[in-house]
Amino acid sequence: MPENLFKVNIEEYMLPGQRACQGCGLSLAYRYVLKALRENTILTFPACCLTVLHGLYPTTSVTIPALNNTFASTAASASGIVAGLNALNRTDITVVAIAGDGGTFDMGIQALSGAAERGTDFIYVCYDNEGYMNTGTQRSSATPMGALTTTTPVLTKQQPKKDMLRIMEAHDLPYLTTTSPAYPIDLYDKFVKAKRIKGSRYMQIAVPCPPGWGYAPKDTVRIGRLAVETGVVVLFEIEDGKFRFTGRSKTLAEKGNKLPVINYVERQGRFRKMSIEQLRQLQRWVDTRWNEYLKRAEG
């Protein structure tokens, strides 16, 4: 195990004393995103938790060049950086757009679809904490069914989570993958791989959020692990159309011992009003998708 750990780039690009919450899942994931991307990277991101993590003027907590953009425009901002660098013949820099689920599934979807359709040579990272967390936990299309948010405070979210992975798959990308901060080495390896691929690469990170999901900060890694153990989050990659499980999900697929979703749901305050029917629907959705993935992995 330590062998893997010490293959990781030991440089830290996120300086101590940054503004993210205690136990922030994004913060943990971001350490490894940046370690994989290294210095020759330019980041662009909208108003979101990451903006706050990067810090307020005149100091920033991240030692990689970054450009802030408006909420809807992340992928377009990246397109412009790519175009500008191409015009200036600077081809040695990786351009990375990074936004939350709000800036990806919702307001940012137009720019993302446009940039991906154009085959823009960039990495798009969506850190999915399943809600508009920076503004205090309002519902997004990424919020799972049955979750309480400040805009679904009584009835819980009624619609299932938007399947952004399928939407992005429909763009015929050279690389699409899911990752989790609970499995940092899997995440790191995928970003290292993505950096070397040309074209539009989509990376989704399943990011647990202590205040938004209603659990103690010390449990961020545990919750992230349970998401994968129950199949709510599946670690996979699709490279040139070929699907394969990775990491813990690969083991689960081989051994067939994923846990029932209740193990994941019961530990989070946001699901305390989830109905039995919603829980059943979630289990059905997880199982259907899991079986679909199993078939794809075989074929």
Partner: protein, 97 residues
Amino acid sequence: MKKKDDNISAMSVPAVGEAGKTGDWRDMRPVHDPAKCIPSIKKKAACFLCWLYCPEGVIKATIPLEIDLEYCKGCGICAEECPGKAITMVNEGEKNG
């Protein structure tokens, strides 16, 4: 000597402690017991899951372990994930262990 800001648009420079001394956020701090710590016991690089899982990157993978208490936010993930239970979260204001 304070000079004025010459930037015509806002461009921030990297530095430690953008949000101040985030160690002040804690109500509990991590206390490390080398006697239970796998790398300390083995006297070689091993485990270091605490270093791996720290969201702040304030743990140094050294023997003995070093945690930067000026910036550690006290989230408790290191204590939670340590397989040897070598880290305990202790209330600020109380003595170690």
